[in-house]
Amino acid sequence: MKAITAENIRKSYKNGKETVEALRSVSFSVDRGELFGCIGPDGAGKTTLFRILVTLLLADEGRATVDGFEVVKEYPEIRRRVGYMPGRFSLYQDLSVQENLEFYATIFRTSVKENYHLIKDIYVQLEPFASRPAGKLSGGMKQKLALCCALIHKPTVLFLDEPTTGVDAVSRKEFWEMLKRLKQQGISILVSTPYMDEASLCDRIAMMHDGQFLKTDSPQNITRNFQQPLFAVKSGDMFELLHRLKKMEGIQNAYPFGEYHHAVMKSGMDTEAYLREHLAESPDLEILPVRADIEDCFIHEMQKH
């Protein structure tokens, strides 16, 4: 049995006079014990999808199951089984770390003691602050506490909606390490993030944009399947270089990429030589063939749609 299945989920809502299509026919499934990532910018429809799966919203069309239960009719079963961490920190700011945890444990009819082994790794970092109000924790600590609260009833499927947004790079890295350990304990995890660099930490990802899944596969397969020749180009004047690249006929797409610009070549172009010829005037020119990463693939898929 799959941890999550979704078939042709559609959802639209009214924003003033306009109808916004938040989800346009989304289908996917998550295996047991899989760490599945929804990667996409704000407004891609990630939160709407999560809310439908955790039974907070009803889809206009399509059907979905979580842990084998149907999201509309069998919602009480799902609510008993899943852990959910919404995009906003779902903690009581005026309750202490320990009070928050105990409260969530009790409403899920369990106790902190019973499932302490699940959260132990994470909670030891929080223990020194056990009596501090949640509102006075740093972003990274709040996020760890929210994760503990979502885990305390030993959920079978864990939904984490943008857990790393607004959290600094160090905490983000730690957070993903925690997720890997949870996965090893057999919990299926659906996580969403706007950060492309987090994709490689998932078993499989869905690149999400404008209410659709652009592509669903393992991050390795996605980058491997990027067909076009790709070059990283650098010069003494990056601004001028970008304009030049954008004007070249043999280049399908050029954009800044860290310290380089990436140039996606049209298929069949004899590439490096072509670049060198056209960029001869640029000072300190450096050209490297590179392999696409998730961000290149995302930009590529976005432009196809």
Partner: protein, 253 residues
């Protein structure tokens, strides 16, 4: 102005700038200069003191000690002059969602005292550049996030400020629009505007001319991205950042 030459060269100067809240030192004697037309990346983990430092530079908060000038004006003594000469945009607030595109442009341009004729001309060229002419009478809330942020940036520089402060301008924006946004930043810097920007995306740190990284209220590193990577023996700015941020001892937000 004590030293006009220095202020001609630098858009921002900070000299042992500090801010204390009771016993807590949020910003601890930071010293740096930002050149005119420079894109200056201001990085740091949550709670490192970025926001407090930025507030002082924008004239919103008085330094406890030390000095700083922005556009040649002293942050403690002349905050009003500073506010007239800078633009500001943040991820959290930038535009009024319940006003239309045109109304937002008119409002912000009006605040800075642009004449009606200037506003008309500016908004026409702004809408043309952003290709927002068809959407000009739509409410801002109906625009995709990336467009909003691009519009917000254009509005932040509508009064042609000498310096523009950008606080995580691209958070949550899709990779394509994020790059378009940075192209706007580049163009603006080319025209002489100084850009002071914070971001959580480490690839964006690479787009800056120079980057400073704050740890526990102090500036732990300041240099060009290339020099920083070399110095820390790191392959990317992300690694540089992680190396530095891990030294942090402070636990605050």
């Amino acid at each position: 102005m004590k030293n006009p030459e220095k202020h001609y060269e630098y858009a921002i100067t900070a000299d042992a700038l500090s801010k204390h809240f009771g016993d807590f030192t949020a910003v601890d004697r930071i010293t740096f200069n930002v050149r005119r037309g420079e894109i200056f990346g201001f990085l740091g983990a949550n709670g490192a003191g970025k926001t407090t430092a930025m507030r002082m530079l924008c004239g919103l908060s008085k330094p406890s000690s030390g000095e700083a000038t922005v556009a040649g004006y002293d942050v403690a003594a002349q905050p009003e002059d500073i506010k007239r000469n800078i633009g500001y945009m943040s991820q959290k607030f930038s535009l009024y969602e319940d006003l239309t595109v045109t109304e937002n442009i008119r409002f912000f341009a009006g605040i800075y005292g642009l004449s009606d004729a200037a506003i008309r001309e500016k908004s026409a060229s702004l809408l043309r550049h952003l290709q927002l002419e068809a959407e000009k009478n739509k409410l801002v809330q109906s625009l995709p996030l990336g467009w909003k942020q691009k519009l917000a940036f254009s509005i932040a520089i509508i009064h042609e400020p000498k310096i523009v402060f950008l606080d995580e301008p691209t958070g949550g924006v899709d990779p394509l629009t994020r790059r378009e946004f940075w192209e706007m930043i580049y163009t603006s810097a080319r025209q002489g505007t100084t850009i002071f920007v914070t971001t959580h995306y480490m690839d964006e740190a690479e787009y800056c001319h120079r980057v400073s990284i704050m740890v526990d209220g102090r500036i732990a590193a300041l240099d060009t991205p290339a020099a920083l990577k070399k110095h820390f023996g790191a392959a990317s700015m992300n690694e540089v950042f992680l190396q530095l941020a891990r030294q942090a001892t402070r636990q605050a937000d």
